[in-house]
Symmetry: C2
Subunit: 320 residues, 2 copies
């Protein structure tokens, strides 16, 4: 008796994303029911993503889905949690064709892999795409990584390379010549789930680099009540980013350290765990680089190669 | 170093909504960490709500918050779950003043009572209000109510009165003269949490009336692979709704049975539990009324007072 496109869409397009997971109840009920995992807490990370704010309107639906999922999954990586499912709440633009919706679903399916969709909500409105993904993961009670916990004397580390996604965004905006690696870092962020799991019991604090390296270091500093000193010369940069930087000088380096969307893990660890951290380098699809140290005080300072402090107007992206 | 209005807003306006709950981590991290409750599954219900679609643009921010929260909490009631917290992901219209945002927060705080905000995300965009609430609740493993489970011979019951919120919406749209009770049913839905808990082990299937009574009965019929026959004469109506109905006839009754937003519990129970159901009537702030029966077959039929089948073009609200 009831019916219409909404229910058909859920059954035909969204239900396959559940991968048959029992928590989803086939998406046929008002809610998901997640069975307990004894001895584990549930980590819940939500991102709200809006076309023209977090996506370019020129991004394809696949890219929007891939970026939304990767950004959200990265929050779980930063907590050292093992993904168990996600909720998708989405308001489709009424201007989107069913082919565009299908392309979004295809991008989501590819980004999610075996992680099941277990619930959410879907509607449509005469406005840009608006969506919220809530990523769910389990972590043994008491062993989640958080932003708080860095102590003076700790080292500061970061995975992978910094600034690629920001340059990829510049490419997507038509401000830079196309370059495959950089564009892919913007379009298809790869959350460091494996590394996050390996950092349990090793890292003293952890965050994913989304707002920008300097801003995110600031979050760790604030949460821990400590100061962070970063060495600009130690920033890990990809070959295409180094190539771009040749003509840019200090302003370019600042751009790479603040542009965000890297979805690398920025973490601190006691100095006597440095060997353990280095042992992880190269093991999870990325190198791990020492980039600074934790001290007494507050805030983030960045030391240039010549030894002077670099000044930053803003550490990165904020939403207001 | 980082900063700006977003972080201030989270600290000053959103953090009080956590009620100090440990899962929220003071909203200072990338995610919430919900400790396990042994022997309990977690129920997760998400609603995506958009200004001009789910809210009138003339609704006050308090009303939007109250409606969003009540609708979402009602999904938990329908599963028989005990609320433990919620996530709020919101995109504020850039046209909103900080007073409007504060009014929304005040409405949310009033609607939530002691239920803590434990996470989410906040951003702003040049478009209407868009928000997703994910309500979280615990239920003993295996005892959640779902839409599936109704069996031929079961009775069909509904809590409270039907159609008030739909008339309240007509009032809010200026199509009907103001009437306090009806308007309040639209503006401040009250989820039947206590009743939902009491229905564990009693109801065979349960749903909250959001799309419309007939459509939601259709969801139970479809999920259970059974037919539902409703008796129009047995519909519980409030005094103001009865008064309105006097001049409306069958079309008016159909309106009340399809307009939705009631957030009452519609459920089935074996006939030999009828006495248990009736014992709950009046105990949770509402009466419980017998309105029909479950049979073999499929779909929903509605029998008019004269004994004829009433026909419905559509059972209620869909989003496409």
């Amino acid at each position: 008796m009831s019916g219409g496109g909404e229910f058909d869409f859920i059954r035909e397009r969204l239900r396959p994303l559940t991968r048959g997971d029992v928590a989803a109840l086939d998406l046929s009920d008002d809610a998901a029911i997640l069975p307990p995992r004894p001895g584990h807490s549930l980590v819940l990370a939500s991102d709200m993503l809006i076309e023209n704010v977090h996506f370019l309107s020129t991004d394809t639906p696949e890219v929007m889905a891939s970026r939304a999922f990767g950004a959200n999954l990265s929050d779980l990586a930063a907590m050292g949690a093992e993904p168990t499912g996600y909720l998708l709440s989405v308001s489709w633009p009424q201007s989107w064709s069913s082919a565009q919706r299908d392309a979004f679903i295809a991008g989501l399916s590819a980004a999610a892999g075996e992680i099941p969709l277990i619930g959410g909500d879907t509607t449509s409105a005469d406005m840009p795409l608006s969506l919220s993904i809530t990523m769910l993961g389990f972590v043994p009670v008491g062993s989640a990584l958080t932003r708080a916990g860095a102590r003076p004397g700790d080292d500061v580390w970061v995975s992978g390379t910094i600034g690629d996604a920001g340059l990829g965004l510049d490419i997507a905006r038509g401000k830079l010549d196309p370059q495959t690696h950089l564009l892919s870092r913007y379009q298809s962020p790869q959350a460091r789930i494996g590394l996050g799991l390996a950092l349990r019991g090793v890292a003293s604090a952890c965050i994913d680099v989304s707002d920008g390296l300097v801003a995110d270091a600031g979050h760790i500093a604030q949460a821990g009540g400590i100061a962070i000193e970063l060495e600009a010369a130690m920033m890990p940069l990809s070959t295409p980013a180094l190539h771009w930087l040749e003509n840019e000088g200090d302003a370019g380096l600042k751009h790479l350290m603040t542009c965000g969307d890297d979805y690398e893990l920025l973490f601190t660890a006691p100095h006597d765990r440095a060997r353990d951290v280095l042992a992880l380098s190269g093991q999870h699809g990325c190198e791990i680089s020492w980039i600074g140290r934790v001290g007494e005080g507050e805030g983030v300072s960045v030391i240039a190669a010549e030894g002077d402090a670099m000044s930053f107007q803003s550490g990165g992206f904020t939403h207001f």
